[in-house]
């Protein structure tokens, strides 16, 4: 079963359009949702959760239609937006009201996470660092046994150690809670560390949505001389020129047997950088 299934999602703004977004995540996996700033990651997530009204498209979460079963779906979701709420209230006060909305709230689990993350429930939210605030939001999301965790740029603003700890936590959640995780990021190294699936969005359109290994297999990093560039230019997604020749990204299926330039495996970073440029354009 897919935890999230989105088909042909559309949302039009005056200056931006989410165009035909389709993606799915199998239950029990981690999907990274990657794209540059302003690509439409947050809008997609908000539209998915009905926080922003969509113009077209179908959204099924945990096997249910969001239009018909929004409350039931949201009771099984943990959403971490990264936005601060009730900064002058203590963790204890916010939790008191938050938990009243969830029938499956597990107080022992909540206390366990508070302890694990060294969170003091008597502290005010704005007394916590950004990383600790995020951990508190994750604690809230996990303490009602969410089957699906949706996190909007959870790692941005965290130091490398905190980021690594968070990504490790994702793995633990998948193992212990059998949950599915969908998180957006513009830091591709996060995906290298823990994502099973990757969806890449650019200018409101999905460029790729598949398993991480398939995504890497779909592309090849190439480099060669200026003469070779002339031959391959039309097939390149984008390229960089230098004094030795060029570096570029090409789809694996576009490679030919008689190509003479060097071919290598790209990183997710390479795939994202070259894909954010127009086809055949030099950096």
């Amino acid at each position: 079963m897919n935890s999230i299934e989105i088909k042909n999602l559309k949302k039009r703004y005056k200056t931006f359009t989410l165009d035909n977004i389709s993606l799915s995540i199998p239950k029990g996996y981690i999907m990274g949702f990657v794209g540059e700033n302003g690509a439409g990651k947050t809008t997609t997530i908000k539209t998915m959760l009905n926080i922003v009204k969509r113009d077209e498209g179908q959204i099924c979460i945990l096997g249910k239609d969001i239009d018909k079963d929004e409350i039931s779906i949201k009771s099984k979701i943990g959403y971490v937006s990264g936005n601060l709420f009730y900064p002058k209230k203590t963790l204890k006060e916010v939790t008191k009201y938050y938990k009243s909305f969830y029938d499956e709230w597990d107080e022992d689990l909540y206390l366990d996470y508070l302890n694990k993350f060294n969170l003091d429930s008597n502290k005010k939210i704005d007394e916590l660092s950004k990383g600790m605030q995020l951990k508190y939001q994750i604690t809230l999301a996990l303490s009602h046994h969410a089957e699906l965790l949706i996190l909007d740029e959870p790692t941005s603003g965290l130091d490398p150690v905190a980021r690594d700890n968070l990504l490790e936590l994702f793995q633990t959640i998948i193992e212990n809670e059998e949950a599915t995780i969908f998180f957006s990021t513009h830091i591709t190294s996060d995906l290298e560390k823990c994502a099973d699936y990757v969806t890449f969005i650019k200018d409101g359109r999905i460029i790729e949505s598949c398993s991480k290994d398939d995504l890497i297999d779909k592309y090849r990093l190439v480099n060669g001389t200026e003469k070779e560039l002339v031959e391959v230019k039309e097939r390149l997604i984008a390229f960089k020129t230098n004094s030795f020749g060029f570096n570029g990204l090409v789809k694996t299926i576009d490679l030919k047997e008689n190509d003479t330039f060097k071919v290598g495996q790209p990183s997710l970073d390479d795939i994202m950088i070259y894909n954010t440029l127009r086809k055949g354009e030099a950096i």
Partner: protein
Amino acid sequence: MKKLIYKELGLSINKFFYILPIILGALFFIPGWIFLLVFYYFFWITVPQVYGSYLAQGDYNFMSVLPIKRKDIATSKVYSLFILEGLHLLFGVIFGLIHVWIYGSWNFFFDINLAFFGVGILLFGVFNISFLPQYFKTAHFFGKPLIFASITTLIYGFVFEFGVAKYQFMRDVFEGSIRSQSIVFVITTILGIGLSILALKISQKRMMEIDL
């Protein structure tokens, strides 16, 4: 819904605004004044503070992911406003009665009597229908809706306070016998409640259409 209202009153609205009706109610101790103004301080102090704090506290961010109906977000906020308005009216009545007991009922402007509180209930109704549907066009910007509602309610208040002071026929109707005051009270209360219910319905409908 109970949980949402409980959350609104406990988490979203500062406790100071439950004490304010008592502080403002004490304004009824001023002898010979435009007593409808007591209720206007609610529009000018409480409303901008509460609706501004929804933004500052990320209240809609918090609510947008809770397992609740969109419609109920508007309903809980409107009910909470009604509760606050009710508190202002309640303390208005208590302090108004004390005023009459101390000073007697005569006032150059509108007397503190049964008709006065009926007109007060309708004042809240006029505020609700002017403010809430405009606010729930965005559930975000409250400045323009509040200016619009302030102008509407000022015109409304002026009509009654000036009318009673200037025209004998209005004094006869609003400050006449208990029977005429009761008729005014019943009519204005029904209208006030009717406008508030209409404001709630429009707010709920608009909440379904906007992006949070």
